[in-house]
């Protein structure tokens, strides 16, 4: 079966709406550039940019305290950089956060953990080590997984990651 080459950003934005996302807290990601462009112009979902990914996690947690339903949008490299706040804020704090993580440079012919690129290869095993559930968007048909991830995050009072396996278009 041929793989989809990209995930349409408008469809991904619709999936965010369907998941009830009120705010996207983000550090720019090449992989999700077209989604960021849509979010920056979106009148309903607030787009908040931070300088680091651990900041993004703590800020999103504060939004939850204030009654919002944020999503954290970052790249795999940023996920590695944010591990202490992922642990100390999202996991230990019990915050229902969805992390949308771009797998920049992924070879879509292979599962992420079989990629040569270390940033792609170690992404799922790292979250396994931290006991953070994760799902993969391998094409437009997987977009309902985003709302499922939001429900799971709420049910387990903790973070759930959604890997964006294809560049958004």
């Amino acid at each position: 079966m041929p793989l989809a080459e990209s995930i349409p950003a408008p469809a991904l934005l619709d999936a965010l709406r369907a998941a009830g996302v009120t705010d996207v807290v983000a550090v720019p990601d090449t992989h999700q550039r077209t989604l960021i462009e849509l979010l920056q112009a979106d009148p309903d979902i607030r787009f908040i940019q931070t300088t680091t990914e651990d900041e993004a996690i703590a800020l999103a947690a504060g939004l939850v305290v204030g009654g919002r339903r944020p999503l954290v949008q970052i790249q795999h490299a940023g996920m590695y950089a944010s591990v202490n706040n992922l642990r100390g804020v999202a996991i230990d704090g019990g915050f229902p956060l969805v992390l949308l993580i771009g797998l920049l440079g992924r070879d879509p012919r292979k599962p992420p953990r079989e990629n040569f690129d270390s940033m792609v290869r170690y992404a799922e095993p790292l979250l396994d080590a931290l006991e953070v559930p994760h799902v993969l968007l391998d094409g437009p048909a997987d977009l309902p997984r985003l709302a499922e991830a939001a429900r799971l995050a709420a049910a387990r009072s903790g973070p759930v990651a959604v890997f964006v396996g294809m560049t958004t278009a």
């Binding site: 680091t52 651990d54 019990g94």
Partner: protein, 203 residues
């Protein structure tokens, strides 16, 4: 932006006197505290609107910014540490850009990593957190080296429309990090205990 007003300073105030000035104004604010200020603050002025930053140094102001952006009607205070803020200096840019309107960011600048043995902060004596915040775009950023001047200025600072950073030159407390004995059962982390209470208070 009125910019930072920074003067060379060698005198310092006690942490206790700095907290006293803040505690006198404690009302409906959400307060995020961290490091050596955390315990004495909660003892003297803690409410069900207190959040704690333990185990993620540098995250206090980002956590508070999230609350401020969710609830712009609620004042938010951060009681930060100098070593903590140094770990997340970029947060100054994020806060300045987000421009929360009722946001007081207090930095206890004692010049050392107090709980780990009072090792000096890099560039201590040269670095100015008020200067950094002013350059990042805070609406106001001021350094104080005695509690009386901070207390006298605080009411006016709380009226500023936009993020304010107050750098308080404080004495080290010598409070060592206390290692608790291993628990027999899995404990609930302190952040998980406190934030639902704050969320209920804000609902």
């Amino acid at each position: 932006m009125e910019g930072a007003r920074v003067t060379a300073s060698t005198s310092r105030m006690s942490l206790d006197s700095a907290l006293t000035a803040l505690a006198r104004r404690r009302a409906e604010q959400v307060v995020v505290s961290t490091m050596t200020a955390l315990a004495p603050w909660r003892e003297r002025a803690g409410t069900d609107r207190d959040l704690v930053c333990v185990g993620f140094m540098g995250g206090a102001s980002s956590l508070g910014l999230g609350v401020a952006l969710a609830r712009p009607d609620v004042p938010v205070w951060i009681i930060d540490g100098d070593g903590s803020l140094a770990m997340q200096l970029g947060s100054l840019i994020t806060i300045a850009h987000a421009a929360p309107r009722r946001f007081l960011h207090v930095v206890m600048h004692n010049g050392v990593y107090d709980t780990s043995g009072a090792q000096p902060l890099p560039a201590e004596g040269a670095v100015s957190f008020a200067g950094l915040a002013g350059a990042a775009g805070y609406a106001r950023a001021v350094r104080f080296d005695n509690a009386e001047s901070f207390d006298a200025a605080l009411d006016e600072l709380l009226e500023v429309d936009g993020p304010v950073l107050a750098e308080l030159m404080t004495e080290a407390t010598g409070a060592a990090y206390r290692v608790n004995p291993p628990p027999d059962a899995k404990p609930t982390p302190v952040l998980a205990q406190t934030w639902p209470r704050v969320a209920r208070a804000l609902a």
